[in-house]
């Protein structure tokens, strides 16, 4: 169809529609790409607190051998156990060097492991008898030797548990002062950069008196 000037009206209309469609598609792709950029390369919010806090956990006197006490560190939703093992341990503090603390989150898939005393069995698996003080993850059976910085001695965990660095002051109070590698499960899992432990939550400022 031709208009008064002899142009092909349909032709120009078609051209216009083509350009409009192409422009829309470009805009749409650009929009999606900007969203995908955030998804694929998330910007980790800078945490102004980049060093581990020093918080009181428990006192030496209140710890009984083989009774774990839970505390949150370094973020308020990250559980840890402090345990008096009864045998000297790597990184252990206290008069007998047998008080250790570890992240309670298994490095395999993030379940909470439980303490098993020497000669005892975990509730889930009666066929396993602990040769020494171990941590046993009830989900898939990872076993950590708590006297050897939570070395993996069984099960699927690819890494040992992150150890909490402890200090004891002159009055017998135990303080958590930092975390050893690897980073806590869920905090850039698999990295050895302990600064990752401080991202994604609120730092613990005061620890409730555990007894």
């Amino acid at each position: 169809m031709r208009d008064a000037q002899g142009h092909d009206a349909d032709e120009s209309r078609r051209e216009f529609l083509k350009i409009a469609a192409a422009a829309s598609a470009l805009l749409a792709i650009g929009g999606i790409a900007s969203v995908m950029k955030v998804v694929i390369f998330p910007s980790i919010p800078a945490n102004s607190l980049s060093s581990f806090p020093r918080v009181k956990v428990v006192s030496v006197a209140s710890l009984a051998t083989g009774v774990p006490v839970e505390f949150s560190y370094p973020l308020d939703n990250e559980p840890n156990y402090v345990i008096k093992l009864g045998t000297k341990a790597e990184g252990g503090v206290g008069p007998d060097g047998d008080i250790v603390a570890y992240s309670d989150v298994c490095q395999h898939l993030g379940c909470n492991w439980g303490y098993v005393a020497p000669g005892r069995s975990p509730k889930v698996n009666s066929s396993y008898v602990a040769p020494g003080p171990v941590g046993y993850c009830p989900c898939h059976g990872s076993i950590f030797d708590l006297t050897q910085s939570a070395k993996v001695v069984g099960g699927p965990s690819p890494r040992p548990l992150p150890q909490v660095q402890l200090e004891v002051d002159s009055s017998g109070d135990i303080y958590a002062v930092g975390m050893g590698p690897p980073s806590i499960f869920g905090h850039n899992t698999g990295s050895n950069n302990v600064a990752d432990d401080l991202q994604g939550g609120t730092l613990v400022t005061s620890t409730s008196e555990a007894s």
Binding site: I40, G110, C111, N112, W113, P138, G141, P158
Partner: protein, 493 residues
């Protein structure tokens, strides 16, 4: 019908009004062939009915449930203890979820065995598989909501698996299901997925699938349908509607009855201490994945990714199955390989799930896993072979006796085969007797039972092989018959 309006008294007039306004007696949907009025044709429909029950009970539960880490458990407890029939509703919601997953699985396997995934319904199968994944997603996201010991651990395992996936998939999924708000954000996202996003996705997929079903119609029986059978159809309203309503009511009544008889108990609230001492097993439909994760071959670095690859492979094969199994025939009797593979798939799922249920939190030695998985496959394959021989042997086919000529090379081969069979048989008999003695002495470990099964199977295969070879010998001339079928009975003259 409009022309009936005003006839047959008040009831007739009301019915006529309703009919003329809703167009019920002018259905736009295809009529349904008579042979489809069989419960097996309606497994998927029953899964949809389960979904509707889930919607109704879920909406009531939603009125009381609070998705926050501090109140999730207490509000669930409130439903159990204080809401009228709250415990019953919660029970119905859980059991119907189980039923929905089981029905979806049965629907899938039945479809596979009677070949409904074949041309031209490949895309329907793919959409159905996506619906299955959404259904499993309902289960997974529903886990976390009550904030019990198991729910928290199970969710962390799921999120941990997501973290082990390659980038950018891992980040994308993390963004979708976890966000960056810690426990509170995660719980809120799981809740939103469970009550809004997944239902919406499932409904869209259902609409797409139902459109395709309407386009293709229900599948004929595998034996084919005669033109008369095809012509015998029933209108969707009222006949088929009433039939489906009956089935649905029966199913719903069953669910209510089971829920009333076996009410749920709410497990303990999550805390790190209780979680470390609990038995955090997933629900039955994830037990097979749980068991695969526990096999010690995956204990090495990168083992998790390998285990997940196995699971992913299973799901991928399920999705693209119509493009793998492309044979034209739909008859079970003529697809022994695919039917056997399907039976092995079901058998392995059941075996792994039961085994996972029996061995919580214990890693499985790789050799034992290989033995049991392999043994299961072998047993099912053997059983399937026997079943095919018995069910589908063609008694009427006359076997041709090959002229008994001397075939020296064949004889040498047969002799070698005999030697191998005798040697294997000797070992198998020894192992078999040993394992019987072991079991008789009270060693019921899986390794010993596995050895019993394996050596027994080997022995059975050995005997079958020997029988086959003997049947091939032509006794009159000492020659070898070439064409004798396995398990053929009797000599033909």
């Amino acid at each position: 019908m409009t022309d009936q309006e005003g006839e047959g008294g008040v009831a007739g007039r009301v019915a006529g009004w309703v009919d003329s306004r809703l167009g019920l007696s002018h259905p736009v949907l295809r009529p349904v062939p008579q042979y489809a009025l069989n419960p097996f044709y309606w497994l998927g429909a029953l899964a949809v009915v389960a979904f509707v029950i889930q919607g109704v009970t879920g909406m009531i539960l939603m009125l009381y449930y609070i998705p926050s880490p501090t109140q999730a458990y207490s509000s669930t407890q409130y439903i159990f203890q204080s809401v009228t029939n709250g415990r019953f509703l919660q029970t119905v919601h859980l059991y119907t979820a189980y039923a929905m997953i089981m029905l979806a699985f049965m629907h899938m396997m039945r479809g596979y065995f009677v070949s409904v995934h074949k041309r031209p319904k490949e895309v329907m199968w793919v959409v159905g598989m996506l619906m299955g994944f959404v259904t499993l997603g309902f289960g997974f996201t529903g886990y976390l909501l009550p904030w019990t010991v198991v729910s928290y651990s199970a969710t962390h395992v799921g999120v941990g698996m997501v973290n082990a996936l390659p980038q950018p998939l891992s980040n994308l999924l993390n963004f979708l299901i976890v966000g960056s708000g810690g426990d509170a954000g995660e719980l809120l996202r799981f809740f939103d997925l469970h009550v809004v996003i997944l239902p919406a996705v499932l409904l869209v997929l259902l609409a797409v699938k139902m459109y395709m079903l309407e386009a293709h119609g229900v599948a004929e029986p595998t034996s084919g349908a005669s033109p008369e059978a095809k012509a015998k159809t029933l209108p969707i309203f009222p006949d088929v509607t009433v039939y489906v309503l009956e089935l649905s009511l029966l199913f719903g009544a069953g669910m209510l009855l089971i829920s009333a008889l076996f009410p749920l108990n709410l497990p303990a609230e999550y805390s790190a201490i209780t979680a470390g001492q609990a038995t955090p097993q997933p629900d039955w439909y994830f037990l097979w994945i749980y068991q695969i994760l526990k096999v010690s071959v995956f204990d090495v670095g990168g083992g998790l990714a390998a285990a997940l690859s196995v699971v992913t492979l299973v799901f991928v094969v399920l999705v693209i199955l119509p493009f793998i199994d492309r044979g034209k025939t739909r008859a079970i009797s003529r697809r022994p390989v695919y039917v056997t593979l399907g039976l092995i798939f079901v058998g392995e799922l059941v075996m792994l799930s039961y085994w996972g249920y029996e061995t919580p939190g214990a890693t499985i030695p790789t050799e034992q896993a290989a033995l049991v998985v392999g043994g299961t496959a072998l047993l099912i394959a053997l059983g399937s072979l026997l079943a095919y021989r018995v069910l589908y042997s063609r008694a009427k086919v006359r076997l041709q006796t090959v002229p008994a000529a001397r075939l020296p090379r064949t004889e040498v081969r047969s002799g070698l085969a005999f030697t191998v069979l005798v040697a294997v048989g000797a070992v198998a008999i020894g192992t078999f007797l040993n394992s019987i003695v072991g079991i008789a002495l009270g060693d019921y470990s899986l390794a010993s039972v596995g050895l019993f099964v394996m050596s027994g199977t080997a022995l059975a295969l050995d005997v079958l092989g020997s029988v086959y070879l003997i049947y091939r010998l032509d006794l009159r001339t000492g020659g070898i018959r070439r064409k004798v079928k396995a398990l053929e009975v009797g000599w033909r003259e």
